[in-house]
C-alpha cells in the first residue's frame, strides 16, 4: 500500500514537473544555422530562437527596441553609429558577449576574405545586399568597425545610413559565439556542427529531414523567459500534411497555411487561426523598354483596368488588401495621404489607351511565377484573372512562365520581360528596404528604350537623399513623395499586401507573429 502511494506521488510529481515541449511544424528544412550566411526564411526561424541581434524588433511590429545593445546613437552627420552592449550576457558555451565578439561576427559578414568564413559555398549575400557592398568595394556603406571598450562598439560609415539600427536588427544578423565558430570550422551551423548564440534556446540536436531540438537557455538574460523547456522544429513540408498534424495534435503551431484553409481552421474547435501582419507586396511590373508600355498613360490604363479589389477578395479573402501603396501597412508613416488607388474603370482605362494612341489595344506578354509565394499563392490563376480584366480594354494577353531560377535571372537580361509578376517581403522595418531594390538607379529588371537598365532620375535622386537623411521628419516627407512618384509612374502596380496565415492549437498562447516573417518563441506558453 505504502509502495503504491509513493508510486502514485512520484507519478503525480512527474506530471506536474513534466517538461513543457513546444512542437512547431516547420514548412521545410533549414539550410544553415550560421547567421549572415543564409537568407531563407526557415533557417532564420530557427536562428531567431538561438541567437539575439544587437537591436531587436518590438513583438508584432517593425519598431526597433533594445536587444544585445541597450542603447545606440549616431553622430551629428549620421556617419558614426555607437552601440553599448548589455553586460554579463553569456553565449550558450559560457563565453562572454563583448564588443570584440560583435566585431568578429560583423567582420565575417562584411569581409569576403575573412578566414573564419565557411568556404564550401560563397554565400554571405545578405550583408553586401543590405549595406551597399562588401569590404573593399567602393559602394560599401561600412568603412570601419571600432571596439571602443569591452562593451562599446562603433561602426564608421562612408555615408549617413539612418536605417542602420533597423537593418542590423534583421533576423539574418544573430550574434554567434566566436569561440564556437573557430572550434567548429566548416561544420559550424550544419547538422553535424554546433550553433551557439545568446538566445532563449540552445541547440541540442538537428536531425535533417526530421527535427531540430532546442532546449531552454537557463541563463537567458531576459529574466522569466523562455516560458517552455523545449522547442522542437518538426519538418513537415506538405501544407496539407502539416494541417493534418496540427489537427491531430502532433504539432502545436505552424506557419504557411494556404489561404484557402482559413475556414477549415476557423471551424476546428481545437484550432485558432493566427494572422501575421502584412509586410510584403505582390506587384505587376510593366517594362518601359517595350513600346506601348513606355507611355505612362498606357501603364496607368493597365492599373485602372485590373480589378484589384475583386482579385484580392477572390484569392485572399480576409487575408489581403490592396491600397495603391507600394509599401505595406506597417510603413504607414512613410505613405502619402495623397495616394489613393486608381479607381477600377475599364471605360476610363480604354479612353486613356485611346489617348495614348492605342484605341484597339495591343498584344502583351505577361509572365507569372512558377512558384507560390505568400504574396502570390496561386500566380497562374491570379495572372488569368488579370488577363481577363485587360482583355476588356482590348489588351490581348499571352501568359508565359518558365522555371523559377530562369525567371529570376532572365527578367534582368535586357530587354527583360514585358510584364511580369513578382513580390517582396521586407527584411527590416524601413521603407528604404522596399524602395531601393525596386526603384533606385539603375533599376536592374526594367529597361529604357536603349535597352539599358532604367533610371528615373527624379525618383533616383529622391531615394538617394531619403536613404541618407538622418532627420526623421525629413525622411518621412521624402518617402511620401517617393510614394506619389512611384504611384504615378505605374512601373510596378501593387496588387496586394497579403497576411500570411498561421495556425495554432487552443492551448498555445503568447504567440505574437512578427511582420518580418519569423520571431522568437520565448514568450509562448503551453497549457
Amino acid at each position: 500500500m505504502k509502495k503504491a502511494l509513493v508510486g502514485l506521488l512520484a507519478f503525480a510529481l512527474s506530471l506536474g514537473m513534466a517538461q513543457k515541449t513546444l512542437v512547431f511544424g516547420s514548412n521545410g528544412e533549414p539550410v544553415s544555422l550560421e547567421p549572415g550566411n543564409i537568407t531563407d526564411g526557415i533557417s532564420i526561424y530557427v536562428q531567431q530562437q538561438i541567437y539575439d541581434t544587437l537591436v531587436a524588433f518590438k513583438p508584432g511590429s517593425t519598431e526597433v527596441t533594445a536587444g544585445l545593445a541597450t542603447s545606440w546613437f549616431s553622430s551629428q552627420d549620421g556617419k558614426v553609429w555607437t552601440f553599448r552592449l548589455r553586460q554579463g550576457v553569456r553565449f550558450h558555451d559560457g563565453t562572454e558577449l563583448t564588443a570584440e565578439a560583435v566585431k568578429f561576427n560583423v567582420e565575417r559578414w562584411w569581409d569576403p576574405k575573412n578566414p573564419t568564413r565557411i568556404d564550401a559555398a560563397a554565400r554571405y549575400e545578405i550583408w553586401p545586399y543590405l549595406f551597399g557592398g562588401s569590404k573593399g568595394e567602393p559602394t560599401s556603406i561600412l568603412k570601419e568597425i571600432q571596439v571602443v571598450d569591452k562593451y562599446t562598439i562603433r561602426f564608421v560609415l562612408n555615408q549617413p545610413f539612418p536605417a542602420f539600427p533597423a537593418a542590423i536588427a534583421s533576423g539574418y544578423f544573430g550574434i554567434a559565439s566566436p569561440a564556437a565558430i573557430q572550434k567548429n570550422g566548416s561544420r559550424y551551423g550544419s547538422p553535424t556542427g554546433s550553433a551557439v548564440g545568446t538566445g532563449p534556446f540552445r541547440l541540442v540536436e538537428w536531425r535533417p529531414g526530421e527535427q531540430i531540438v532546442l532546449e531552454k537557455n537557463p541563463n537567458y538574460w531576459k529574466k522569466g523567459f523562455p516560458k517552455v523547456d523545449r522547442v522542437v522544429f518538426r519538418v513537415i513540408k506538405d501544407p496539407a500534411a502539416r494541417l493534418a498534424a496540427l489537427k491531430a495534435g502532433t504539432i502545436d503551431f505552424t506557419t504557411d497555411i494556404p489561404p484557402a484553409n482559413l475556414q477549415d481552421v476557423e471551424r476546428d474547435p481545437n484550432l485558432d487561426p493566427v494572422l501575421r501582419p502584412s509586410f510584403n507586396v505582390g506587384y505587376l511590373a510593366l517594362n518601359p523598354g517595350y513600346k506601348p508600355l513606355s507611355d505612362p498613360r498606357v501603364r496607368q490604363a493597365i492599373a485602372m483596368a485590373i480589378n484589384k479589389k475583386a482579385i484580392v477578395q477572390a484569392f485572399w479573402g480576409k487575408l489581403g488588401l490592396t491600397d495603391g501603396h507600394f509599401t505595406p501597412p506597417p510603413m504607414k508613416a512613410y505613405q502619402s495621404p495623397k495616394v489613393t488607388d486608381y479607381e477600377f474603370s475599364p471605360q476610363k482605362a480604354k479612353a486613356l489607351l485611346a489617348e495614348a494612341g492605342y484605341p484597339n489595344g495591343f498584344d502583351l506578354e505577361l509572365w507569372y511565377m512558377p512558384v507560390s509565394r505568400p504574396y502570390f499563392p496561386t500566380p497562374k490563376e491570379i495572372a488569368e484573372a488579370m488577363a481577363a480584366d485587360l482583355s476588356a480594354i482590348g489588351i490581348r494577353v499571352k501568359l508565359q512562365t518558365k522555371d523559377w531560377a530562369s525567371y529570376l535571372n532572365d527578367r534582368k537580361q535586357a530587354p527583360g520581360f514585358q510584364a511580369y509578376m513578382l513580390g517582396w517581403t521586407g527584411d527590416y522595418g524601413d521603407p528604404q528596404n522596399f524602395y531601393d531594390p525596386h526603384f533606385a538607379c539603375p533599376i536592374s529588371d526594367l529597361f529604357d528604350s536603349t535597352r539599358k537598365p532604367l533610371c528615373v532620375k527624379e525618383l533616383g535622386d529622391l531615394l538617394t537623399k531619403a536613404a541618407t537623411t538622418p532627420n526623421l521628419e525629413e525622411r518621412k516627407r521624402l518617402y511620401q513623395r517617393a510614394d506619389e512618384l512611384t504611384f504615378n509612374l505605374a512601373l510596378r502596380i501593387p496588387i496586394v499586401h497579403s497576411q500570411p496565415l498561421l495556425a495554432k492549437r487552443k492551448n498555445i498562447s503568447g504567440w505574437v507573429p512578427s511582420p518580418l516573417g519569423s520571431e522568437s518563441f520565448e514568450a509562448i506558453e503551453k497549457r
Partner: protein, 336 residues
Amino acid sequence: MWSYLFRRLLGLVPVLFGITLLVFLFLQLIPGDPAQAILGERGTPEQLAALREKLGLNRPLYVQYLTFVRNVLTGDLGTSAVSTIPVAEELKRRWPATFELALAATLVAVVLGIPVGILAAVRKNSLLDTLSMSLSLLGVSMPVFWLGLLLVYLFAVNLHWLPTGGRLSTDLAIDFKPLTGFLILDGLLTLNFQVFWDALRHLLLPALTLGTIPLAILTRITRSAMLEVLSQDYVRTARAKGLAERQVIFKHALKNALLPVITIIGLQFGTLLGGAILTETIFSWPGIGSYIYEGILNRDYPVVQAGVLVVATAFVLVNLLVDLSYALLDPRIQYR
C-alpha cells in the same frame, strides 16, 4: 554460378557509367542556373559569378563530368551545393528510412497480394474474383497523394489511432539514439519496446499507402500466372491422380507460377528503393526520394548525380538477386 555472378557484377560497370552520363546530360537540360536557384531573389551578379566559380559551373562540361566520375571512383560522392553537407553522409543517414519503408510496403503487397491473387484465380469469375480485380484496378489508378491524405485524416486526425507522419513521436525521438537507423530493429535491439511499437505505428500508414500500387499489380500478376499454370496438363494430371486440391494449388501450381511473381516483387522493391517522393512528402518520411527531389528543385547537381547513382546501383543489384533466385525456384535454371 560464381563466374556468372562475377560476369554480372562486371557488367554493372558500363551500366552505371551510362547512368552517370545520362543523369549528367539530363541535368544540363534542366533550364535555370544553379547559382541563381541557391541565392534566390537577393543574389547580386558578383555573388552569382563567385558561386558559379565555386561550384565549378564555369568549367567545360566534359571536365565537370570527368571530375565527378573521378571523385566517385575515389569514394567521394560530392557535397551538397545548398546545405554543404557531404552527399554520402546524408544518403547513409537516410537509406535505412527508405529501406524500411520499401520493405514494409513490399511486405504489405506480398502478404495480401499473393493470397488474393491465388484465390481470384482458383475462383475465377466468382464475386471474389471480380471484386479483387476491381479493387486492384482502383489501387493502381488511385493517386498516392490523395490516398495518403485520406488515410491520415481517417486514422490519425479523426480516429486518433495512428500518428500523422514522421518515424517516431517527438518525445521519443528526442531521447532515443538509433543504432542502425532501422528504428523497428533498433527498438528490438535496445529492448526499448516503446520505440519498437511507436516506430511500427508510424510505419503502418506510409507502408499501406506506398504498398497499394505494388499490391494491385502483384494481385493481378499472381492471378494471371496461376490461371495459366492451372490450365496446364500436369495440373490436370495431379488432380487426376487424386491429390487434394490444396496440394495441387500450393505444391504444383503455385511453385510454377512464382517466377513472374518474384520478378515483379523484385522490380517493385527496386523501384520503391528509389524512394517514394509523394509518400515521403505526405508522411514527412526522411528518405532518399525526397532528398533527391529537393536536389532537383534546388538544382543541387551533386545531390542529384550521386543520389541517382546510388539508387540505380541498388536497383540493378536487386534485379541481380531476383535473377539468382530463379535458380532456387526452378531446378531447370542454372547459371554458368
